[in-house]
C-alpha cells in the first residue's frame, strides 16, 4: 500500500494542477448564473425518484418532533376554510355510524352532574315565564284531588273536628243544665234545712264516697 503507482502519482498531480488552474481561471458565479436551473429541475422525474426512494426509511430517520416544532400550526389553521370543510362533512352519515347507547354507557352521569352548577343554571331560568306557559287547569284536571284528599285523611280530620266541636257545644249546654240542677237542689235542701253532706250523691255502686 505504501508503494504507489508511479503513473497515477504523476497524473494525479497533473490533474490537480490543471483543476486548480481551471478553478482559478473560471469565474464560477458567472458560470452559475448562466446555468438554467429551472430547465434542469424540469427534466427531473420526481415521481420516479420517489418510487425509487424508501419513504419509510426516510421517515424513520426524520426527527418528527423537530419537524413539528418548526410548523406554525396557527398559520396552518388560519389558512383552513372551516366552513368549506364542514360543508363537505355528511353529519347524518357520521351520526348514523355513532352507537349512541355505547356512548351513553361510557358517560359517568354522576360526574357530569357534579360539574353542573345548578344555582347558576336556575338563575338563568325565568320561572315566571315558565309558569306562565303552564296550563294549570289542564294540570289540575289530571290531579286526582279526591284521591289525594282521601289519602291525606282530610275527611277523617274534618269529621273528627266537626264531631269534637259538636261534642264541646253539647257538653257546654250540659254543664249549664247540671249547674242549674245543683243550684235548684241546693236551694231546696237549704229550705228544707237539710245538710247537703248528708245527701247521697248517687247510687252506691256508682259513687265513691270519701274515706
Amino acid at each position: 500500500m505504501n508503494q504507489q503507482d508511479p503513473l497515477q502519482g504523476r497524473l494525479g498531480k497533473l490533474a490537480n494542477a490543471i483543476a486548480t488552474l481551471v478553478v482559478q481561471t473560471l469565474d464560477l458565479p458567472q458560470l452559475a448564473s448562466e446555468i438554467d436551473i429551472a430547465a434542469i429541475i424540469h427534466q427531473i422525474d420526481v415521481v420516479e425518484i420517489m418510487d425509487q426512494s424508501d419513504i419509510d426509511a426516510i421517515l424513520q430517520q426524520a426527527d418528527m418532533d423537530a419537524l413539528l416544532d418548526n410548523v406554525d400550526v396557527d398559520r396552518v389553521i388560519a389558512r383552513v376554510d372551516a366552513n368549506a370543510l364542514l360543508d363537505r362533512v355528511d353529519v347524518n352519515a357520521m351520526l348514523d355510524r355513532v352507537e349512541v347507547d355505547a356512548l351513553l354507557n361510557r358517560v359517568d352521569v354522576n360526574t357530569l352532574l357534579d360539574r353542573v352548577d345548578v344555582e347558576r343554571l336556575l338563575n338563568r331560568v325565568d320561572v315566571n315565564a315558565l309558569i306562565a306557559r303552564v296550563d294549570l287547569d289542564a294540570v289540575l284536571d289530571r290531579v286526582p284531588v279526591d284521591e289525594l284528599a282521601q289519602r291525606a285523611g282530610i275527611p277523617e280530620i274534618v269529621s273528627e273536628s266537626t264531631s269534637h266541636m259538636a261534642a264541646s257545644f253539647i257538653d257546654l249546654l250540659r254543664r249549664i243544665a247540671v249547674g242549674l240542677d245543683l243550684v235548684i237542689y241546693g236551694t231546696i235542701q237549704r229550705l228544707l234545712r237539710r245538710q247537703a253532706a248528708d245527701m247521697p250523691q248517687g247510687p252506691p255502686l256508682l259513687t265513691v264516697e270519701d274515706v
Partner: protein
C-alpha cells in the same frame, strides 16, 4: 282547666236536665208519631182506599199514640239505658243501686210514667225534694237517673265548681270554730 271542674259522673240527675230531656223525648216521639200516622193514613187512602178521617178513628189514634209512647220509653231505656233525650242531655237510667235496670222494670217504668203527671205533676216532685231525686215512676220501677256523658266526664261549670271547692274548704274550719 278541665281538671278544676268538679266531676259529677254517676251522681243523681237534677230537675232541669231531666225536664229538658223529657221535653226532647216528647218532641221526638211526637214528631215520629205524626209522621208515622201520616204515612199510614196516606197508604190507607191511596192503596187500601180507606178514608181514616171519615171513619172517626180518633180513639184508635189516641190508643196508638199511648202504645207508641210506651214502646218509645220502654225499648230505648231497655236497649241503651237512655232515651234519645236523655242521651242528648247526658243522663242514664239505672237500678236503685246503680246496676243495669232489667227490661221488665224498664217496662214498668215506662208504664208508670203517666202516673207522675197526675195531680199537676206531683209525681215529679221527688226529683227536687227526694234524697235520691227519684220521680214517682222511678220509685215504682226501682230506678234512678244519673249523669252519664259516655266516654267524657260529666262536669259542673267552672264557677260552681270553684264555689263548691271554697265551701268544702271552709266547712272544716267553721266546724272547728263552732
Amino acid at each position: 282547666m278541665r281538671s278544676s271542674r268538679q266531676d259529677v259522673s254517676g251522681n243523681y240527675a237534677g230537675a232541669v236536665t231531666r225536664v229538658l230531656a223529657h221535653w226532647v223525648d216528647l218532641a221526638i216521639a211526637g214528631i215520629l208519631f205524626v209522621v208515622g200516622t201520616a204515612a199510614i193514613d196516606y197508604v190507607l187512602r191511596t192503596i187500601v182506599g180507606v178514608d181514616a178521617e171519615a171513619k172517626d178513628l180518633g180513639r184508635w189514634y189516641a190508643l196508638a199514640g199511648a202504645i207508641w209512647l210506651f214502646l218509645y220509653w220502654w225499648i230505648t231505656v231497655a236497649v241503651a239505658g237512655k232515651t234519645p233525650g236523655k242521651a242528648l242531655l247526658g243522663l242514664r237510667v239505672v237500678g236503685r243501686q246503680g246496676d243495669v235496670l232489667p227490661s221488665l222494670r224498664c217496662a214498668v217504668r215506662a208504664a208508670s210514667l203517666p202516673l207522675s203527671y197526675l195531680l199537676f205533676g206531683l209525681g215529679f216532685l221527688g226529683i227536687i225534694v227526694g234524697r235520691e231525686r227519684r220521680a214517682l215512676h222511678d220509685t215504682i220501677a226501682g230506678s234512678a237517673v244519673i249523669y252519664d256523658w259516655g266516654p267524657r266526664t260529666a262536669e259542673l261549670p267552672m264557677p260552681i265548681s270553684a264555689y263548691l271547692a271554697r265551701k268544702a274548704a271552709e266547712e272544716p274550719r267553721q266546724a272547728a270554730d263552732g
